[in-house]
């Protein structure tokens, strides 16, 4: 049985139309409710059914009340019922706020109730949604927008508008900062690579425009002098345009280095030199001069992809089969070796590094775009207009770093592919022998290891290659006789004489050094594999020496 709070008598009667808010009886759904429509106004209250004792006494103290006052009020279409506070228009006092009918459906409410409800809807419930302008206030039943007339204050509007714009600009701003950071760090590493390959003097010549611009004061300091500021801005823009290859190429060195270790590079790289040569518009001296030695820097680097492919081919044909066999020899004898991903994880890495080395040998990955090369080559004494330089193709850019990275990158995909392919070759008819790099790539990366260690190793190796190559070049300089590696004597007098041999230029040494490094690394690793396979066969298990309590020697 429900227990009810004591019934309160409604005190808010001001009009003769008093609908009693009297709580109703507990009358069951019996039709006993005497609701007569014959009273002069439908608001009169009727006596309740005799089941409730207390109520009749209450009711008798008032004007006669209907048995179901609220029901009566509900049925009366003229009486407004606020859907928020559930009070009727019959209970209106002078303090009640006016009624409002803001939407097409039948819901009406007091203005104060509506404003309270709207304030709650617009309040920021979760800090994420604030100050975006708020959700639209919709009627819960008909979903029509409820419009408000607010007094306008321009300051408030302006500030809120600024807040909105600021909120929208956060994401693009964060992205901009992030990409600027990446750009600058790539640029810094690109500069480092150039220096390590080219040495200090040549490197400085290449990078000179960049260095001059790097430390200029930012434009804001010129705000006080607008004309100067404008000049500075225009100057900076022009400078960027002229030396665009520096600004675009240098940051690209790092990512292309890394990307070149993926399988994409194999199909792209050989195409780039063609593009490069095709777009070179000035062929005067250095460009395509195949007959003079040493080749120009651009030519040397442009040829690298082909050297790389040739090396890959050689490696495949000659060594890859043996290497696979050696690797397999170390595995358990049930021949699962190649498919045992875990066990091969480490070996796969080794393999990757292996083949990387072999393929990398002749391709040195420093990526310098042709434009830089042109400027640099012409510096010694041929002041050609920059316009010509600007026309050297971007392809050399992507080409070079890709070459490097590619060399090193190719091993991972290639090795995996090689092993897969070769395993099939072993099992199936040797028709599957063709292990062209391109085909390797197309056979798909079935087991490219995705472990973070492997990825980190690949990336780091790719990024560090310019430095390694530079150092190998220096090593070469130490090891080889002076005559081969020193510039002609006249240069010491201040006149720059073109070098007579590839090794006399620092970049040439770096190039050759890098290639030799890769070859040497490959050779060493192959030897290690071979030796391990040999030693593998000679292992013995030692018996436990029961007499002396230790392993029998």
């Amino acid at each position: 049985m429900a227990s009810l709070p004591p019934r309160q008598q409604s005190q808010r009667r001001t009009s003769p139309e008093q609908s009693s808010d009297q709580p109703q009886s507990q009358a069951p759904a019996s039709p006993e409710r005497a609701r007569s429509a014959t009273s002069e106004d439908s608001q009169t209250l009727f006596l309740n059914s005799p089941q409730q004792d207390e109520q009749p006494s209450q009711r008798q103290q008032q004007t006669p009340a209907p048995a179901a006052p609220i029901r009566n009020n509900d049925d009366d279409p003229d009486i407004k019922k606020c859907w928020i506070c559930f009070s009727d228009s019959t209970e209106d006092t002078p303090e009640t706020s006016p009624w409002r009918d803001p939407c097409p459906c039948a819901l009406v409410a007091h203005e104060e109730c509506l404003l309270d409800w709207i304030a709650d809807m617009e309040a920021p419930k979760n800090s994420r949604n604030r100050s975006i302008g708020g959700p639209k206030i919709e009627c819960p039943q008909c979903k029509a927008e409820i419009k408000l007339a607010r007094p306008r204050n321009y300051v408030v509007d302006a500030v809120r508008g600024l807040e909105r714009v600021g909120a929208k600009a956060i994401t693009p701003g964060a992205l901009t900062v992030l990409s600027a950071t990446l750009y600058n760090s790539s640029m810094a590493w690109g500069v480092h690579s150039i220096y390590s390959v080219f040495g200090s003097e040549d490197g400085f010549r290449i990078l000179r425009p960049l260095i001059l611009n790097a430390m200029r004061p930012p434009v804001e300091t010129y705000v006080g002098e607008p004309r100067e500021a404008l000049e500075k801005v225009v100057g900076v823009l022009l400078d960027h345009l002229v030396h665009w290859r520096l600004y675009v190429g240098l940051p690209l060195i790092t990512p292309v280095l890394v990307l070149s270790r993926t399988k994409f590079a194999d199909s792209v790289l050989p195409v780039l030199p063609i593009l490069f040569f095709a777009t070179q518009q000035h062929l005067p001296d250095d460009g395509l001069d195949f007959t003079h030695w040493p080749p120009s820097a651009s030519l040397a680097f442009a040829v690298l992809p082909y050297v790389r492919s040739a090396y890959n081919l050689y490696y495949e044909k000659v060594w890859a089969g043996k290497e696979k066999r050696w690797l397999k020899d170390i595995q358990p004898r049930n021949g699962q070796g190649q498919n045992d991903a875990d066990a091969d994880g480490g070996l796969a890495n080794l393999d990757q590094v292996d083949q990387a080395g072999e393929e990398d040998d002749n391709i040195f990955e420093v990526r310098i775009d042709g434009g830089i090369w042109d400027e640099w080559d012409e510096d010694p004494g041929q002041p050609q207009p920059d316009a010509q330089n600007n026309r050297a193709a971007p392809p050399p850019m992507p080409q070079r770093p890709q070459q490097d990275g590619e060399d090193q990158a190719q091993p991972p995909p290639n090795i995996i592919d090689n092993r897969e392919a070769q395993q099939q070759a072993n099992a199936a008819p040797p028709l599957q022998q063709p292990q062209q790099p391109a085909q390797n790539v197309q056979q798909g990366e079935r087991r490219l290891s995705f472990s973070p260690t492997a990825i980190a190793e690949t990336v780091l190796g790719a990024i560090l290659f310019p430095t390694i190559a530079g150092m190998s070049g220096e090593l070469l300089k130490l090891l080889l006789p002076r005559a081969w590696t020193a510039l002609p004597a006249a240069s010491r007098l201040g006149v720059r004489v073109p070098a007579k041999g590839l090794l006399q230029e620092k970049w040439g040494r770096s190039l050759v050094g890098g290639c030799l490094f890769v070859v040497a690394k490959d050779a060493v690793l192959l030897y290690v594999r071979w030796k391990m396979a040999q030693m593998h066969r000679r292992r013995r298990v030692l018996d436990w020496d029961r007499r002396q309590g230790r392993a029998r020697v």
Partner: protein, 158 residues
């Protein structure tokens, strides 16, 4: 208008004294801010028609602008004991995950009766007699009131 909750609750109480839909009964409303309603679920084999579930309604000063807090009561000391119905959106401590009861889905156009009807139909249309995923963890570690919990309503099929 803080007095609004009292007035409106009285009106609702009065209305609820009258005929209610089948399966819904008022248990107590002695304290105007805390009501208890009993519901029974017709026509669903998961919930025997004789079994009654008790809902507690907690109203705040800002009712009806703020949604009431509705939970199932769990009393094993009574006979028959009160249990929390098995439903993928009802945790075993009685907390209900219903969009209607969240501040985003509530509007003052609803009332106690409509909430009871919604919960009743939520139970009646249920086919999975299981608890929500992570129920044990939630019951063990939850300290906030239902109104403070940010539910993620993502399952429209139940």
């Amino acid at each position: 208008m803080a007095g609004m909750s009292g007035k409106r609750l009285q009106k609702e109480l009065a209305k609820i004294q009258g005929p209610l839909p089948p399966g819904i009964t008022l248990v107590s409303a002695t304290d105007l801010q805390k009501w208890e309603m009993d519901i029974q679920v017709p026509d669903n084999p998961l919930y025997p028609p004789t079994e009654t579930y008790r809902l507690r309604f907690n109203f705040s000063k800002n009712y009806p602008i703020e949604a009431p807090e509705v939970t199932f009561l769990h009393r094993s000391d009574l006979t028959p004991p009160l249990r929390v119905p098995m439903h993928p959106h009802i945790y075993s401590n009685g907390i209900i995950c219903l969009d209607l009861l969240d501040s985003a889905g509530w509007s003052p156009v609803h009332n106690v009766e409509s909430v009871c009807i919604s919960i009743q139909s939520m139970l009646a249309s249920n086919t999975k007699g299981e608890r929500p995923p992570g129920d044990a963890e939630f019951v063990r570690s939850n300290r906030s009131r239902p109104r403070d919990i940010n539910f993620l309503f993502h399952d429209p099929s139940v």
